[in-house]
Amino acid sequence: MTNASTLIPRIPRALSLALRPLPLAPLSFALTGYVRKSAARHPSLIRRLGEHDRTHFVLDPTDLPFVICLDPGAGSPRVRVTRRPGTGAARIAGPLAALIGLVHGAYDGDALFFSRDLMIEGDTAAALALRNAVDDAELDLADDIARMTGPFAAILHSALAFAERRTGVSLSRPEEAGAW
């Protein structure tokens, strides 16, 4: 038997346990706001979902004590953070670093699937549409979050870059500077 898994960073168990008491309602509210702004900024995100633009997704960061339920709402998205398992037609599960890395285009979804770092259950077509839509949108969480913090943007950028270096988690979109 081969060990297929790649070296995706995992949230330490102690930190995951420490996050358990986190109030989920404010997190849901903040994430809904972020996703709505992203959908407005990148209209192709919802358009690429096509017939799956009302499918409920469960994004399951397997090293965190909660899941993220996303309803694209045909352009009026809503996010609900809940305890496992969450309800939805399609589940995409993997370490938080793998899910964020997919958003930033740092990892290839098929490669994560081959290595068993990413798991898809339920409506495979919807999960594929979401993955492809997100890959095309070229999102940058660090940039977006920093933009929302106004005068604290520079400080936050530095903090996220520091966290990225320390954890190995892709918290921003990698540079695409060509080799030629």
Binding site: A4, D110, A111, F114, R116, T124, A125, G178, A179
Partner: protein, 327 residues
């Protein structure tokens, strides 16, 4: 002359990533059944195609539009419109498979360069010369059934350029004629642009054991920690008597990077990378790798070491038919 690297792009972002990573040429398709990667969330609208072509041309790269499925009887207009729209978008060539569509394109769009898709399975010089002479085909994408000496033999007898796959998923050795996906799901890459459509695929993970089902059939099961293949019947595990194993193909990817010097010597013009269904991360990494390889070859330097195993199906690679060790 540097061998041309022909790269996949399933989305505009992947096209930009390919061009920035050093692709000479990018191939892509419209978001409908006219192209053989008609997957959810992928492909280009007409406007995105125009913008993509403009971006590529602005960076000195070419764009090929794949219209490489076989038109349905009574539905030909969709394919004719795709060819016209590709020309209007400024595409450098269209990649076609169907004889009728090739003939129509040669008649209606005489200025549009045509490449023959791998789906047409043109595997000998007589056939390739027929396409070149009668239908004006300028380049043929060779099916993945030929050894390097066989490719050299073809190139010795034709003026039509040849393009060969060097990296990515492998297909059964009857491209354009495979009916396995159609048998299991009613949809095929040849007619609908989808091999093993995602809408017919289900995964079930129980205690780390992953079952993949296609059209209700369990086609393979991998244990905890084992790498997973694509859910295609050709990579399925079959049981016959007491024996169980892969019947058609192992779950491996093609990687012919070390054969690039031999392919150049065999007269090949362009090297094609498979994977329009893959992400921009894959596209950028594979393109950089192959661009470095052809540049090194041109400069007379040693070929760089590849780093592509992690991106490969089954995390394993093969040189496929280029080295027919099974014969």
């Amino acid at each position: 002359m540097v061998m041309e690297i022909v790269c996949p792009a399933g989305t505009p972002a992947a096209l930009r990533a390919a061009v920035k990573a050093g692709a000479h040429t990018v191939y892509c398709g419209f978001a409908d059944e006219t192209n053989a990667r008609n997957f959810p969330g992928l492909n280009f609208s007409r406007e995105e195609m125009r913008e993509g072509v403009a971006f590529a041309h602005g960076h000195g790269a070419k764009v090929l539009v794949a219209i490489n499925t076989f038109p349905r009887a009574g539905g030909e207009a969709l394919w004719h419109r795709a060819v016209a729209d590709a020309e209007q978008a400024g595409a450098d060539a269209v990649i076609l498979a169907d004889l009728g569509l090739l003939a129509n394109t040669a008649r209606q769009h005489p200025g549009l360069r045509c490449h023959l898709s791998v789906q047409a399975a043109a595997a000998n010089a007589d056939m390739i010369n027929f396409y070149g002479r009668e239908l004006g085909v300028k380049r043929v994408v060779l099916p993945r059934v030929l050894s390097v000496p066989e490719i050299a033999a073809i190139n010795a007898e034709t003026e039509v350029e040849t393009e060969v796959f060097v990296f990515g998923g492998l297909c059964v050795m009857a491209e354009g004629r495979c009916a396995m996906s159609s048998w299991a799901t009613g949809k095929s890459p040849n007619m609908n642009g989808v091999c093993s459509p995602a809408s017919h695929v289900e995964y079930h993970d129980q205690g780390g054991v992953l079952d993949a089902r296609l059209g209700g059939y369990t086609i393979h099961r991998v244990g905890a920690g084992e790498s997973a293949p694509y859910p295609t019947l050709c990579k399925g595990v079959f049981r016959a008597g007491d024996a169980e194993g892969h019947l058609f193909e192992d779950a491996v990817s093609l990687n012919a990077e070390h054969l690039i010097p031999q392919l150049k010597k065999a007269g090949v013009t362009a090297l094609k990378i498979e994977g329009r269904q893959r992400s921009r991360a894959y596209v950028a990494q594979v393109v950089r790798n192959f661009r470095a390889a052809v540049d090194a070859l041109e400069a007379g330097q040693p070929m760089p070491e590849g780093m592509l195993a992690r991106l490969s199906e089954g995390q394993a690679t093969t040189t496929g038919a280029y080295k027919k060790t099974w014969r």
